[in-house]
Symmetry: C2
Subunit: 194 residues, 2 copies
DNA sequence: CACTAATAGATAGCGATACTCTCTATAGAA
DNA sequence: TTCTATAGAGAGTATCGCTATCTATTAGTG
């Protein structure tokens, strides 16, 4: 309840239709928006200002689906790890090899380069090509997700669909990977010490 | 610098070999550990107390590889979203269908069920089977990662390998998926408004 | 119509987290 | 000797995401 007021103040929820100085009507659009905010916060772990960016984009009818997806990606990408210019070049090389065309200011390029740099800083001699199987694994998934965004659906619906898909299926994918790891790990290293 | 002192205080780094009341020697083991902590923090986004759990597990020679992986999973899983018992049952059904055997207290079961519940709270009529392609996509990746953990390597090396792999490749996978999304999105919805 | 409980809107406060700064005593360098 | 640097410990700080309080008004109940 106090949280809802806070969200209203922060511009995550649109103000209700004011019927009196101390009364406002909230439709089911509002409660849906609240659910969206909660999902982005709890499942996606997005920060309040990132969520604000996302809902602004969702509300803006002038934005293309592609642009809104970019906003969502920017909001999700933590962008924590530093990377040298060489790693970034290697990532671009990988993307070129895959034939993936992405915006030059996509934060995920840095994210991926940061992962590469991190592995190397810990003494691992990894090539960018180590990521190839990962790229091939997610490519059809991403393709399917984008394909499911039919252009003939109402703008707001499609845009929310894109954002939610990115965030929620991302969380699901990460969880599934860890579950698969645990399954395989249990089979291999199950009861044995070391 | 001040951060290193803080990490020492928090038990993320082992104290240096004290040579005098105001002097201590730090070996390359220490700087490697520091790099590990920074990677877990920046790339993995782990919290300080979660990192402490992880390094404790890494240091403990009594832990099996499988156990340490469990600690890492517990540290990573945000565990934010709530899920009803029905979603959890559906997730278990999915895991049974896949033949994946995981610990009953694996937090990722709840994570996945939370994703499912979130989609439904936003009005989507999704079945657990929606996640099947995702499971099939990550299964070989997770298998490869676990397989790369040779049991004949020194304990500390293997254990760190497991933790770093889970965290860093997880970040890389998420970034790659978003890059793939952007690529596909650009092809389909590129310049068109809506 | 009176009275109670609730609500909008605004402001201030709180608890957790991850640092960052200061202080003191001592040690190595010039 | 003097100047700078460091270990160790404690207090202080910035940010984030709420949460509690306060005031004016108003809907609902008897």
């Amino acid at each position: 309840m106090a949280t809802i007021k806070y969200y209203l103040r922060e511009g995550l929820l649109p103000p209700g239709q004011a019927t009196a100085p101390n009364q406002a009507d909230y439709s089911d659009v509002h409660v849906h928006r609240l659910r969206l905010v909660r999902v982005l916060r709890e499942v996606g772990g997005l920060r309040i200002d990132a969520i604000r960016e996302v809902v602004r984009a969702v509300e803006d009818p002038e934005r293309s689906l592609h642009e809104v997806l970019g906003v969502a990606h920017r909001a999700i990408s933590p962008g924590g790890a530093a990377c040298g210019p060489s790693e970034l070049a290697e990532v671009d090389e990988l993307l070129a090899h895959l034939g993936w065309e992405v915006s030059p200011d996509a934060p995920d390029r840095h994210e991926l380069a940061g992962a590469l740099a991190s592995l190397r800083s810990l003494g691992r001699d990894v090539d960018v090509r180590t990521f190839l199987p990962y790229a091939h694994a997610v490519e059809p998934l991403a393709g399917g997700e984008v394909q499911s965004l039919r252009a003939d659906t109402p703008a707001e619906v499609a845009v929310e669909h894109a954002v939610v898909g990115t965030v929620v299926y991302g969380a699901a994918l990460a969880a599934l990977r860890r579950l698969a790891q645990e399954h395989h790990s249990g089979r291999r290293h199950g009861r044995s010490r070391r």
